[in-house]
């Protein structure tokens, strides 16, 4: 089974449902073991799954949680971690990207965890090296481990996702989280809705396998979960939204609008949250919020991903 998992995790789109289930199954186990260790019921799981392997995180974009999550995951599996932060603006020629990754491979990298502002860059890296490549977010394309950790979080809370209605609200156009989640959740049998102002709904998005809701009310109606996306300041400069206040007025999830959700529905956010814009503090810190649980799932999912890509699970 493990040998069937691809060597690279470049996107969710090309994964089969069984492969997604495999990551989630293994990640669920890792997550329970970590929880037990934290509760003092067991020793910290120092897995010797990747002893002596070298995991390189190569981030051409700023990130705190995704990178540290990968690094904690690699440590937990017994791997060594090398961490590179590069300014993509100084790397304008792809030559440099390929040269960079070939150098890292020569150092002995077994896995390259790559975040890059250009869609498709991890695929180009995978072509250039023999090491495994894990996409940690490429432009507006995909962020596969984020979708997997969201699926794990949701499944633990809601049970099997078959037939569940899950809405993603916000800047769909620029969101790699949204794309990976649409693929992942729909492969797991959920009905996925996306919603946001028309300026942030990309052309033909329904062809990815989701519905488009035109209002927040329609997005939240009968939803089992809603995922709120971060709205960035740049969207004001490029005239996609008038401002964060106006955005919050129409699309923000707050104490009032959260009542449009069914009573048992849960709220997710990939972070970092703009409190008071897409998500109010009441909702963010309220009972429905799974935001901190998502972070916890993140480490487990990245452990499972690294183990499976290296065929070591």
């Amino acid at each position: 089974m493990a040998s069937e998992f691809p060597r690279h995790l470049l996107d969710i789109e090309s994964l089969r449902r069984e492969q997604i289930e495999e990551v989630l199954g293994l990640a669920g186990r890792f997550k329970r073991e970590r929880a037990a260790a934290r509760a003092g019921k067991a020793r910290a799981p120092r897995h010797e799954i990747l002893p002596g392997r070298i995991v390189v995180t190569l981030f051409f974009e700023a990130s705190t949680r995704t990178r540290s999550s990968f690094e904690v995951a690699a440590h937990a599996l017994g791997a060594e971690v090398l961490s590179f932060q590069k300014d993509a603006s100084s790397v304008t020629k792809g030559e440099s990207l390929q040269d960079t990754v070939r150098n890292l491979e020569a150092i002995g990298a077994d896995v390259l965890v790559v975040r890059h502002p250009a869609a498709g860059a991890p695929r180009a890296v995978a072509r250039a090296v023999r090491a495994s490549v894990v996409n940690a977010g490429d432009g507006s394309h995909e962020h596969p481990t984020q979708a997997l950790l969201d699926a794990l979080t949701l499944r633990e809370k809601l049970g099997p996702l078959e037939g569940k209605v899950i809405s993603i609200v916000g800047d769909i156009a620029h969101s790699r989280v949204a794309r990976s989640n649409v693929h992942c959740l729909s492969k797991l049998g959920a009905r996925v809705r996306v919603a946001g102002p028309s300026t942030l709904i990309p052309a033909g998005v329904e062809k990815l396998g989701c519905e488009v809701a035109r209002t927040l009310r329609d997005a939240l109606r009968e939803a089992d979960a809603v995922m709120m996306l971060r709205i960035q300041q740049e969207r004001i400069a490029d005239a996609r939204i008038p401002g964060t206040r106006d955005y919050a007025r129409v699309w923000g999830l707050n104490a009032r609008t959260v009542e449009l959700l069914p009573a048992r529905a849960v709220v997710l956010h990939p972070g970092p949250v703009n409190r008071g814009v897409e998500l109010s503090s009441e909702v963010m810190d309220g009972e429905r919020s799974l935001v901190m649980d998502q972070v916890d799932s993140g480490v487990a999912v990245r452990m499972a991903t690294l183990a499976l890509c290296l065929g070591a699970a």
Binding site: E95, R123, R127, G139, S140, H141, A203, G204, V205, L208
Partner: protein, 446 residues
């Protein structure tokens, strides 16, 4: 004299289609006749057996980037003219976006001098509309015309100011020069790098709406109508552009237009690694292409199947007058990079004829029309005396084996660049011989 005997002569300009004998004499077409070669003629002249071949007027390509002066690593005038000859193209119009820009007589004369030295395809320079193609001050248009420029264009850099464009059209109109436009409203393009639509959304790439082209074409058509100038719309990519040109032609605006083989063959699916989504062009044995293929990146971008069909329809009914390649050589430094950072453009001189013949084979375009859009159609756009086998015309003639299959291998291109989206495709139709003014400049060695 050279006698081309027994081939099927297709010369739309003279409404010729049938087995004929073509006689070349002193760089001119002496005669095209039904009568075979006599014993006396055979004894005294070179006779080429053209049985089984098409005998066509040399092709005319209105839109070619030769990169010299300035980027000779990508292409030179000689290598580009060699590639053109191999593709059956006997006349090319060289775009002015060289380094320096062709906005002066000295650059225009340099281009022609280099082309004469090469002695292959004929190269006619296009001059810039504005000085340095910066979209501000008009270039010395009269000087450019005198130095041999056949049209004016800021190709690749749309003149964003409607006011400047209006004056450019008026001034060019006085001189009788057509103005070629790369129509694109850059404010609608923004950071876009491929066609806006489901494919771009799936790949997470910023899109360019068709309206970026159509809006600018509509503006320029209005200005052409207002000024009476001749507007030539380069590389039509969108159905909306076809509609706009159709309407403008119907109301008498002086407008001509061209379309490229890549826009009538491929769709935006090619960016996702689906090389031939159109069934008629499906390639069974072509190598797999990865998503984010930068050889599918060009400006304007490859668009949807309905846009492609509109272009083919317009080529058939003459709303689009010409096939032009927008031959744009780039090296690996510009192309072997992230899609969003890659340069726009593909080479096309050596595949243009075969791709056009593929439309004929697919039943989308009749052969005489295909030949017309490759020869006399473009020649007429710019008032050039080429692209015909009429008596007295320059003896630009090509012999084509329309059925011969060949595999596109960019390593074997005569062009210095290899950036073709058709690598590995099997095409039919190979140029066997190319004559420019009666001189044999290409002979297939296969």
């Amino acid at each position: 004299m050279i006698f081309l005997e027994g081939g099927r002569v297709v010369d739309p300009a003279t409404r010729t289609d049938g087995v004929r004998t073509v006689i070349l004499d002193g760089g001119r077409i002496k005669e095209v006749r039904e009568q075979a070669v006599s014993a006396g003629e055979r004894a005294a002249n070179e006779v080429v057996d053209c049985r089984g071949l098409l005998v066509l007027p040399g092709l005319v390509d209105l839109h070619v980037h030769l990169r010299e002066p300035g980027e000779e690593g990508k292409e030179t005038i000689a290598s580009g003219a060699r590639a053109a000859a191999a593709g059956g193209i006997t006349t090319v119009v060289a775009m002015p976006n060289t380094k320096p820009v062709c906005d002066s007589a000295s650059v225009a004369r340099f281009v022609q001098a280099r082309a004469r030295e090469a002695g292959l395809a004929r190269v006619l320079p296009a001059g810039a509309i504005t000085r340095g193609s910066l979209g501000e001050a008009l270039s010395d248009m009269a000087e450019l015309k005198e130095a041999g420029c056949v049209c004016l264009t800021d190709d690749g850099r749309p003149v964003m100011s409607a006011g400047v464009m209006r004056r450019a059209l008026e001034y060019a109109h006085d001189l009788g020069l057509p103005v070629m436009v790369h129509a694109e409203d850059l404010t609608l393009t923004g950071p876009g790098c491929m066609n806006e639509g489901a494919v771009a959304t799936r790949l997470g790439l910023p899109g360019i709406p068709a309206a970026a082209e159509v809006a600018m074409v509509q503006r320029d058509l209005l200005l052409a109508e207002m000024t009476g100038a001749h507007l030539h719309v380069a590389h039509v990519s969108a159905a909306g552009t076809v509609r706009a040109i159709r309407e403008a032609k119907a109301r008498g605006v002086r407008v001509t237009a061209e379309a490229t083989p890549h826009h009538f063959t491929l769709t935006d699916e090619a960016v996702a690694g689906v090389p031939a989504s159109v069934p008629a062009f499906r390639q069974e044995d072509a190598p797999p292409v990865e998503p984010y293929d930068t050889h599918a990146k060009m400006s304007p971008p490859l668009r949807s199947e309905s846009d492609r069909q509109a272009i083919v329809g317009a080529l058939s009914d003459g709303i689009i007058d010409a096939v032009a390649t927008d031959h744009a050589p780039h090296g690996p430094l510009e192309k072997d990079v992230e899609f969003e950072n890659a340069a726009n453009g593909v080479v096309g001189l050596e595949t243009s004829l075969a791709l056009t013949l593929a439309l004929v084979r697919a039943g989308e375009l009749a052969l005489p029309r295909a030949v017309e859009r490759l020869s006399s159609g473009p020649a007429r756009c710019f008032g050039l005396p080429y692209g015909t086998l009429a008596t007295g015309a320059p003896a630009d003639v090509i012999l084509v084996d329309a059925e011969r299959a060949w595999k596109v291998d960019p390593q074997r291109f005569h062009s210095r660049s290899r950036n073709s989206p058709f690598a590995g495709w099997t095409l039919r139709g190979r140029v066997v011989r190319t004559y420019v003014e009666g001189k044999l400049v290409h002979r297939s060695d296969e």
